[in-house]
């Protein structure tokens, strides 16, 4: 057993690092503190990675994955976080793609996977509904078969970045006379189809990140159904397990912690750096230890996966601890900037104020803290994750 990298792995890391340095778009540097990323901002980096064959680290080689083993994937994630790159959004690469290459038809694979890999098409996730959040199987958006088409009616909500989406993967009800899980199908819907309407939801941090998606008599070819009719729940569950590992965000949290420590050395409190404040230091250490524990746990899960044991209920542990650590980092950021958490950069920017108030890192501190309350709610809330562990791991 060991945790050190081999010389080959170090060479691999250097190769990744050099590639990022040479190819990462100049205009997207330091983007971690920006909140106004455009579709093009997200996709431009995705495309660069795609052209290199690195946008889909987890995919099997036959569909365009780079064929990396677990350690390489881990190193790759670390390097992206280290350089604070724009994230490659998970909806295409890590969510719908594994469903398509696992359950899809050859035509579906050929039609959708390359465009996802290259960053040509943007995907959104149409699962949640106003009445079906934690109880996802209670969804009521209806798809009625009409020849070679389904006619879809209903409403989805909380759909992340659907305002940019070219395609969406949707869970729809195709049978109501059975157990709820047994009447669901998995559809790929062109967001430009007539009858699809995307309405913004503004979150408490003032961001437009989520949407309502209204579907009125939307015609979807039966060929865009993945897996069998009424077997969509199988795809949904498979996808949720994939979603939950990515959701731990260990590499990004390590980067966040590093920035937090830097901020603490730069923030002067009564003439001394905050990093010298015993109480604050204690909290930083506690956070770092918990993050380390999460990281090693994730590596153990990845090592298991490498041996062919797919992500199971352990991914719920990663989701719970990963989400809470993200929240604690933003909470300490806010604490670190103290009184300067108050100014609202969105408001003063909107009024044409071209100034930053307070120390570096201060302007987004509160808004980030507000925003990240979402991590214990989405992807299956932390209460739901605990229910899953209680049932599947503890057998209670």
């Amino acid at each position: 057993m060991k945790l050190t990298f081999t010389p080959e792995e170090i060479a691999f890391r250097d190769e990744i690092r050099a590639f990022i340095e040479q190819n990462y778009p100049q205009n997207l540097k330091g983007v971690g503190d920006r909140e106004d990323l455009t579709k093009e901002d997200y996709l431009s980096w995705h495309r660069i990675l795609g052209a290199k064959g690195w946008s889909t680290p987890a995919w099997p080689v036959e569909y365009g994955g780079p064929g990396w083993h677990a350690t390489q994937k881990y190193i790759f994630g670390e390097e992206l976080a280290r350089a604070e790159t724009v994230p490659v959004l998970p909806f295409g690469v890590n969510m719908v793609a594994p469903v398509i290459y696992t359950f899809g038809t050859p035509e579906q694979k050929a039609r959708f996977l390359p465009a996802i890999q290259k960053g040509e098409e943007w995907w959104c996730q149409g699962y949640s509904e106003p009445g079906a959040g934690s109880d996802l199987a209670g969804l009521s958006t209806k798809a009625v078969r009409d020849g070679d088409f389904y006619i879809v009616n209903g409403q989805k909500t909380w759909t992340t970045l659907a305002q940019h989406a070219d395609w969406g993967f949707f869970l729809v009800r195709t049978n109501s006379d059975c157990k709820p899980q047994e009447g669901i199908s998995f559809l790929l819907i062109d967001m430009k189809s007539p009858g699809v309407e995307v309405r913004p939801i503004i979150t408490m941090d003032g961001a437009h990140e989520v949407n309502e998606v209204w579907l009125t008599d939307v015609k979807v070819p039966v060929a865009n159904r993945v897996f069998e009719e009424n077997k969509g729940w199988t795809c949904a569950k498979f996808l949720l397990a994939h979603e939950r590992t990515g959701i731990a965000q260990v590499a990004r949290s390590k980067m966040g912690l590093k920035k937090l420590k830097k901020l603490a050395t730069e923030t002067i409190s009564e003439g001394l750096p905050l990093a010298k404040d015993r109480d604050f230091k204690h909290k930083l250490s506690e956070l770092e230890i918990d993050l380390r524990a999460l990281e090693i746990t994730e590596l153990r899960v990845l090592a298991n996966e490498q041996k062919g044991k797919g992500p199971g209920a352990e991914s719920s542990i990663l989701k719970i601890n990963g989400s809470v650590i993200q929240q604690r980092i933003t909470e300490l950021f806010l604490e670190a900037v103290g009184p300067y958490g108050a100014p609202n950069p969105r408001a003063y920017k909107a009024e044409g104020g071209n100034f930053a108030i307070g120390p570096q890192g201060a302007p987004m501190a509160a808004l980030n803290y507000f925003n990240v309350r979402k991590t214990s709610i989405f992807g299956g809330s932390n209460e739901i994750q605990r229910n899953i562990i209680a049932k599947l791991v503890l057998g209670l």
Binding site: V210, P339, A342, P343, R373, E383
Partner: protein, 377 residues
Amino acid sequence: MDFDFTDEQKMMRDGLSRLIAQKYTFEDRHKAVASKTGWRPDLWAEFAEMGLMMAPLPEEMGGLSGDAIDAMIIMEEFGKGLVIEPYLQSVICAGSLIRNAGNDTQKAELGEKITSGEAIFAPAIYEAEGRFNPAFVATSAKKNGSDYLLNGNKAVVFGGPMSDSFIVSARASGATSDETGISLFVVNKDQTGLTTQNYTTVDGLQASELFLEDVAVSGASVLGEVGGAFAHIEQMRDHAIAAICAEAVGLMTVANAQTIEYAKTRKQFGVPISSFQVLQHAMVNMLIALEEAKSMALLAAIECAGDDAKARAKACAAAKVKIGQSARIIGQNAIQIHGGMGMTNELAISHYFKRLTMIDAQFGNVDYHMRRYGEMD
């Protein structure tokens, strides 16, 4: 022992609560925050008409000789209604400084402006590098004939944009963090050399950065003894803490009520989510946090109304710690239990959460007051 309010106090609470229910709905507040001025001058005038500005201030300032208990009642209602007007700054903080440091003329003249609601005053005490320490005053006051020249910056001055005057702490002598050598000056907003940078805060309030460059103020604008203002500032802080704790109690009361109501009506898996024991326990913890906060806010107000400075300081430090802890428990659980709905700007609950969060950094956070408390005996 007596935890009862007087009939006058109950009437004031009812009157204010009615006014807020009628004219300060969540939608009204939303509009006010987004408006050009960012507040409701019309409501400010109504508050004054109701006598709210007079309530906690002494007769010689034109007040009704009430005390911190009156302030508590008012601030708690303001909390419930998410009120954004600068009552805390003008009436509680500036009112406290003028009452304790001002001479008879200042008390009468400035007091009349505050109690009538005609003018707004904001304390400009804290500086960026001092963080939560009000003795950290790098802003200098140099004697220049019979005038003083003020130079320095003041950080996150709440109520700044709508204030007519600031009460600025500046140092005539001593090292930057000395408690002696600090004086208070009344500085009008249009005074030459004073510039401000105004902004809205993340919880919908208005605040300013103040930059003072050779601001010349006359000897008559000194509030209290030159170099001897710190005790007044400490007293102001205690009164501010008692008041903001009461505001927090108001916020928490509504946040809890809304969360319980939501949990009872929101159904998942065919049942109200309030039937899940894990959420029930979370809501019980919220209730316990609220009751503790109420007790400590009350203690702070009672000690502020008394005349034992040591007991007052200790109670207020303790209250600020407890309120910070309770606000965190209640705020975070309220959002979590609301699920995705809690994340939206549309629902009031997220605004209660934001204000509850931001109160921690006003007048010193949990760690700061925990440390202070430990150093008192």
